[in-house]
Symmetry: C2
Amino acid sequence: MRRCIKCKGEPAIDLKSNNTAFCKEHFIEYFLRQVARAIKKYNMFSSDERILVAVSGGKDSMALWDALLSLGYNADGLHVDLGIGEYSTGSRRICENFAASRGARLYILSLEDMYGTNMREIVRRTRRVSCSVCGTVKRYLMNLVVQQKGYRVVATGHNLDDETAALLGNLFGWQEGYLARQYPHLPSTHARLPAKVKPLVRLGELETETYCRLKGIDFLADDCPLARGATSLAYKELINSLEEKMPGTKQRFLFGFWDRGRRNFTDTPVELKECSLCGQPTTAGTCLFCRLMQKAGLDPLIQPQVQEM
Amino acid sequence: MRRCIKCKGEPAIDLKSNNTAFCKEHFIEYFLRQVARAIKKYNMFSSDERILVAVSGGKDSMALWDALLSLGYNADGLHVDLGIGEYSTGSRRICENFAASRGARLYILSLEDMYGTNMREIVRRTRRVSCSVCGTVKRYLMNLVVQQKGYRVVATGHNLDDETAALLGNLFGWQEGYLARQYPHLPSTHARLPAKVKPLVRLGELETETYCRLKGIDFLADDCPLARGATSLAYKELINSLEEKMPGTKQRFLFGFWDRGRRNFTDTPVELKECSLCGQPTTAGTCLFCRLMQKAGLDPLIQPQVQEM
């Protein structure tokens, strides 16, 4: 393995995509610089803004939370406890420990506490694709916390690999609306909805994992037990095999999309109305969350019991 | 293997992408119907037009030539003998035998006869990517034959796999101009240039090979010895692994591009001038063919010696 490009010291990571290697210290510096660069390039937020970070306990969201704090941002965490056995207890403990050790604020919402059930059961009862149900529920609850606690920006840990796989999926289906909306910074479209930002888009899974390892940040390495066989995994495998042959492919593909490709797709703006049940912004008469909860025999109007620590 | 969907007879091919199987007779019928459908959908040519088919001796161009003749079209062949050892002598013999057996007209151009050298040598001298040099030379010579013999349409054997791989490559590099120009029927852009059509775009490699096998059409199975390691092969592998998991992916991706995706990309029209050396239409002062031939120390102005049989 080649030595650190900055100090010729012991390499901690070799980045084929960038044709370079870094020691521990210079990789952490590089990682934070890439996060700062994405925040600036896509005009994500200012230094005095309060940011809510959606944290699962996995390597990406933990690296993101740590990086934002390290860069001096006012970043609070929000964790949704899905109640999926050890996977969820482990995830939650990791978030709590990190918050405690860093003196950071963490909000926790537990499906078990609020609805007396868990995500596995909700998915089973709705008979829908699990990642889609889980995403809908988490986005909805996050919006409620955003409103209750007065945030205007939500940051998620989507990385280069996630975004590249999503882009490929959107292209394979020629989803023009999704293509137009795939961007690292989506401004708020309604007074009650936050802007959404993805500060890790310049960094891949190898980088986020290495960052956690080098900085001693604990994270849950297991994939979500409900996500097995997701098509996004097939797209990731495919892009990784191409990246292996032609290093830098992911970056060229994704950044080229944002620099040149995306402008070719336009999104038809939709009017947001109030959900007939819960009153939250929706494009339909009754919002997807309320319909899913009803299908699962649960009360969509239960207010979130936010535990704060 | 399931039985023929039409007659429940012995299956000759199982098409997972279409979730169906065919016997020999009904597959040949299906194959010709797909060719006819592409010709009609993309308005390629009328039944009384004279069509020049670029034939390499491989399964795709041989299947195309046979299919056009079987559908009653006036299809003549053009083969360029690249002079690459047994690969070229074998390819040429296959084209000649087919033409003789079907009473079809075949034009042959031999690099050895015209320039006293072969494609391997030209590639070596120009120090360029072989597929790019070979494509430039073949397109140029084809245009000369088109002018000399008065054709207005050239058909090539590009199939579903070729087009899908090319689409993925164009997307990975966000080549907007290439994306706008990737279409099964490109009308003529100059009085001296033919329209270009690809009647096999609805059929994959498995289908063209099976068609040849079932109809007893001889073809050269070897890949071109100069094309080894071409990136298009990496893209093909990758799409095939996805097709394996999600049958029908290629068709959805490519046809979706032509139905919905492609309209988002626009091509900047370029003015065609006359090459300062040969006088053929070009966007540059001296055309790429003349520059390549000069770099290879060959005379670009040698007129094609067309052998007709």
